[in-house]
Subunit: 404 residues, 2 copies
């Protein structure tokens, strides 16, 4: 059996994702579709709208065979670390294909980009550093550096899916992994769109409709599979909410109040004196959005600041994270859900899979799991305490296959 | 002008307190009644039912002339440190009398107790240590030690107001302060009473009626001055709540989730491996009361555990607190409210007062104030964020006289 991996967040699963799953199967002819999915918190520094188990169910009901958790330590990171964790996890599962969406639609430009970058690495890094030192944000600086060093490059690296796609290719080629990359062109919507204009809408626009505008069935149902809509509904019936940053604002704000600037500087992502800016703005912030606007400068991207706030919320320190970033191989594989095909694949791969499956938390855990458990518990904080307990219970119980 | 100090919490101000104010004036013939009052959090390890400014107003409307804040670092402590802070603060204000309620009703037994304790200090401490090492709680161990060493003592030191009274006398005599102690016998209710049986009811029973049983006017109004009832009502109209531990449970629980056992062990009051017990019980606790019951053993008194939880909530560390406990003189005086008499007294004492008046927080604050500011901000955490901002504003604005 051959497996194709998709690197996803499904926040929530929508028609564009459905198209991705179908196309991946068609292009790669893989027997199994594996989704490597972020857990409680996402790459852009946000809580997932519903928890990872309900999102895994969305994926299974739409044709994915196996859903694997991308650990927090890689999920809530810049595209390079995010890609490293996800690609290495796919490799640990013996996945032979990777299929990603991109604005480009062809793999060749990514590979060409990679080669040119590698050849001119020193020159590029020097220019990038120069741009950054002038106070530009990373995406802006890297765009300008690329334009200066590689005026001929066909890939627009400022497009979010191109950035991610490039990071996947880079990880595969850097680590010389036996994974064949494929890309499909994203269709009919722009990543940052807020309006739902047709049946393929961005996850961002769908969340806006769901959370801020409290839109009813029809507008949403035209853009996501019915099964996804049902999971969204079940989750809200069970917990009372769809998660978004404002649910966490009271905890985040309280947390910052309890912390000194020294404490803050220990936290992942709190760099370059941001601790002073955070403490200075805290007394005035009346909502998460308000706080973000007070913090935002040209130097910091919105997502970088959001990721930093996730790390503050979950009290994830540099000391914990730095060793994890150096991990070259995934120490374990954690299953969020699977169907019969996924199960058969795992059985067939028992000896080929590089990492063991983790069935539950234990007293002496891998540092990645310690971080994961804390993030999970905190993810459920906005729920009534008794519901929190029920939700976290599944985190400990499974549904997992133990390799041993 | 001569001033008499009362050491109080007014949580809330009730008929017993009114009796205390009137009797103190009558016995001491003082021109001015000064209340030294705990601020946001109280000696028994609880949030005050309404904030310190509203409680100061209760006191002024019932005949107190001047209300001074007992700093958090002394307020949320055992009776010895609580008494030290309060008595030293009264001394800093040049107070000549101290009047406290007690089960005893006479000062002589307190002074006799003090002398005997001093004479047999070593023997007593040895016995006490012995009792504690057998796992007894402090009040129980000290009761038994006293019974063994001083079978003749007339003072029942297990009664909460006798313990406090003794601590006041001890501080006055230890520091040889020019303060005359007086005591009045507490009447018609028992400190731990939950039922309101007559017009003098304990603050505990009144809070129970207000918060848990949501009792209407009549049952409460017979036990507190009308002006106190109005402040309670105003506060709830303004903020939406009366504060109690369950309002803080989500924050406390979240906080503990973000902390390792090592982090917890840095916090004031987390001793003897309590950090492990806290982390172990956290996943199962569904309310503050539930958590307390899971933590409670014979060894720890309820109030000691509650104080520990206040310090965790406010992230007050041993490193911050240990130097503060050693303070022998109050470094500043902070006014929560006063009437014309209080104002006149302060003017007349400008040169006699030992410590300066603090008008507002500043960038470089005394460590006592750093702790105070954090505790205050966190006290308002359960309120809607915009209301929090309004409430904390008065903390910065005054109503204060600056000595300089």
């Amino acid at each position: 059996m051959e497996a194709c991996g998709l690197i996803v967040e499904y926040n929530p699963f929508h028609n564009g994702h459905l198209y991705h799953v179908k196309k991946a199967r068609q292009i790669t002819k893989a027997d199994v579709i594996i989704a490597i999915m972020s857990g409680s918190f996402l790459q852009r520094g946000e809580p997932a709208i519903i928890d990872k188990y309900y999102r895994a169910q969305m994926a299974l009901q739409a044709g994915v065979d196996l859903v694997i958790e991308l650990p927090y330590a890689f999920a809530v990171q810049n595209s390079e670390l995010f890609a490293r964790g996800a690609v290495q996890l796919l490799h640990a599962l013996n996945g032979k294909h990777l299929c990603f969406g991109s604005e480009s639609g062809r793999v060749a430009p990514f590979e060409k980009h990679y080669k040119q970058m590698k050849q001119n690495k020193t020159q590029y890094q020097h220019t990038l550093k120069n741009m950054l030192s002038r106070g530009q944000s990373f995406p802006s600086a890297s765009k300008h550096a690329v334009e200066m060093i590689f005026p001929e490059l066909p890939l627009d690296i400022t497009k979010p899916n191109n950035i991610l796609g490039f990071s996947y290719i880079k990880e595969i080629l850097d680590s010389n992994l036996p994974i064949q990359p494929h890309t499909i062109k994203r269709i009919k919507n722009n990543y940052h769109d807020v309006q739902i204009t047709n049946s393929i809408a961005s996850a961002t626009s769908i969340r806006t409709k769901l959370i801020k505008q409290n839109e009813k069935h029809d507008a949403i149902l035209s853009t996501i599979p019915h099964s996804s809509y049902k999971q969204l509904t079940y989750y809200k019936e069970k917990t009372g909410i769809w998660h978004h940053w404002e649910n966490y604002f009271p905890y985040l704000h309280y947390k910052v109040t309890t912390m000194s600037t020294n404490d803050l500087a220990q936290i992942e992502g709190v760099d370059e004196g941001l601790e002073y800016r955070i403490k200075k703005t805290a007394p005035f912030a009346v909502s998460f959005d308000d706080w973000m606007k007070q913090l935002k400068t040209k130097r910091y991207t919105w997502t970088r600041l959001q990721r930093m706030f996730v790390h503050i919320l979950t009290h994830t320190t540099k000391q914990e994270m730095n060793p994890l970033k150096e991990l070259k191989k995934m120490p374990y594989i954690r299953i969020l859900g699977m169907n019969a095909i996924g199960q058969t694949y795992l059985n067939s791969q028992r000896n080929a899979c590089i990492a063991p499956f983790i069935s539950r938390y234990s007293g002496k855990m891998h540092p990645l799991l310690t971080v994961e458990e804390r993030a999970s518990r905190i993810y459920y904080s906005p729920l009534p305490r008794k519901v929190q307990k029920q939700m976290i219970y599944q985190e400990f119980r499974g549904p997992i296959i133990d390799k041993n």
